[in-house]
Amino acid sequence: MSKKDIKVALIGNPNTGKTSLFNQLTGLTQKVGNYPGVTVDKKQGTCKLSATQNAVIIDLPGTYSINPTSVDESIVLKTLLKKDIKESPDVILVVADVENLKRNLLLFSQIKDLEIPTVLAINMVDQMTRKGISIDLTALKEELNTEVVLISARKNQGIEAVKAAIIKCHVAAKATPMCDNKKIDPAYFEELKAINPNYTLYELWLMVTQKNFPEEITKQEKEKLLSFNKDVSKLKKYQHKETIYRYQEINKILKNTYLVDKSKAKDLRAKLDKVFTHRIFGYFIFLLVLLLIFQSIFDWSSLPMDLIDTTFAELSDFARSNLPTGVLSDLIVEGIIPGIGGVIIFIPQIAILFLFIAVLEETGYMSRVVFLMDKIMRRFGMNGKSIIPLISGTACAIPAIMATRTISSWKERLITILVVPFTTCSARLPVYAILISLIIPDTKIFGFYNLQAFTLLMLYALGFVTAILAAYILQKTLKIKSNSFFVVEMPNYKLPSVKNVLFDVLEKTKAFVLGAGKIILALSVVLWFLASNGPESYKNAEQNTIEKVANKNLGADELQQKIAAVKLENSYIGIMGKSIEPAIRPLGYDWKIGIALITSFAAREVFVGTLATIYSVGSDDENTTTIKEKMRSEINPATGKKIFNFPAGMSLLVFYAFAMQCMATLAIVKRETKTWKWPLIQLFGMTGLAYVCSLIVFQILK
């Protein structure tokens, strides 16, 4: 039996290398879970510290102090104030950037005052010589009264020393505070401490300032603590004083232990900043970056996507010819295989977009974009930081909505959450792709630009413009008071680390497959069931059809097709599609599209899968041709014209651009806004807009 695992929490300023260190320590053992109670993702992994001792490592969001100003940062406070043994960390590993040790030590000093065993890992020591920094490690250890290790997470240096320090710190299990708030106002803090001596003074102080009380605190104590809260200006003043006092202590310590030779510290930053934040080039470069991303997503993903498409079609054929006939085989061939294919097909595009976002964040460029865009975004009720969710939204709205957590103003954050689903997520792409290939000719415009690609670009633009306009309207109509405080750190430019980028892409892609993927697969199966079952008229379809066409002398194949079509029409799903047909006929759709609309109300991408299912159910031929070919040849029996003609296709494109058709997103919005009000507003607002716009488009073009 090995000893009980040590729980280690990684805490530090943003961009100090917490995630890099986390990746080094845990490798592929990491997984994303939920904090119980706080519905926020928790990244966790295991690490072998020594032959007999393992550790569970938790990666926390970056923060500058434990006084939170955003949802992201409040997680750190909540984790630290937890007293129950199961959840609270045994050892805190503070990761600091060697270049900005002073500021990093502020957070360290606060954590130290909670009297939790703390290890300080000073990261990026590979930069020390270049920046002319020297550290007296022994003296620093002495002064800080804790384990200090110099590491380079990127170069994989000092990792073993971190592990040893964690064990040592855990065994010693003693921690002394670094600052004593009593020095600010002895009487005031003496009185505070007297409320419950079981807590450290700093814990009590945090309860007062953050109004965050542990469960085990009694009612009387809580009341006493709240009474400290009455004099807000005094509280604020003391918080200010405390911060200054902490910096004074830190300066004292660093004075003799941390030296910087300023003459050596010249860097690339200033030069690059001149270019990237230039009033003209800055925007120009950003636009180029966006175009590059956009172009690459298509260039790089088309091959794997075609491959996936044909592989799954072949797999269906293979299964069909090798499995015994029966309900179970039908389920596999018509339900499960296309369902899984419908999830897998997104992976290339999502992964490529996340790859770019990860690279932009890693290099430090994303903060420059935030800087460039803040003023513009503010006019539309958002925040420079909203640009990251809006770009992420072109992969998937779910991670995009999570990315809004860094926005500290509630109104700006809410508006961002509400408009993100307008951006063209990858679930819309297969719908767009198939419709565009059906209704837009494959020709070149201006001699070189592919018309189909141009249409897609316009749809992306439509998504962004609608998002921005919607934000503007929301800004004017939402009556929410919230302070809009904004501060962003501009990190140093860095070359991205391959490991970090790959882990990030892997994590987000996995989250998509497991989250949205489950819904898609489940729906595919439900859909298959609804399409292959029905009331009385469905069961009699075969008999009736044979009788009806008995005098027409049809061939066996033709007869079989006729039967299948009648069956589909009379299946449960056919009945549902038919029942909404009157409502969608003005938009140019028939009942088969109606079926696809119904099923895509859970997730858009199901549109393609549904049509695939409908057509493979409808035309029961042995060769499963690709979905596209089937749709192209689909004729409306009433008019004799193609169903997917230009007006109907355009109307569908507009519908999919605007409608809120993603159950997974609605669930996330509910989680993040803590009420059903906002997801419902999204559902009805967006879908209503979609209906009206599609109606207009079809009626004009028809």
């Binding site: 900043d273 803040d374 501060v487």
Partner: protein, 75 residues
């Protein structure tokens, strides 16, 4: 009275002691302390936000915040 917002690009100043109360806690925590030297590194194309360097931290803050933080210009 000079504030961070009245600096020109590249110019430096010292944050004055009297503006302690008007500096948001978060900025204080990030190193924007009274007495610290502050440099205006860059102004965003639309004149807002401002990109400053103080106490080794490179920060972007909005003009509204910057115009509340008084400074003494250094020659």
């Amino acid at each position: 009275m000079n504030t961070i917002a009245s600096l020109h690009i590249g110019e430096m100043g010292y944050i004055s002691e009297e503006s302690l109360d008007s500096i948001p806690l978060k900025l204080l925590e990030m190193g924007c302390l009274p007495g610290a030297e502050v440099q205006l590194v860059q102004i965003a194309p639309l004149k807002d936000p401002l990109y400053i360097c103080v106490n080794g931290s490179h920060l972007a803050i909005r003009k509204e915040t910057a115009s509340k933080i008084k400074i003494l210009k250094s020659e």
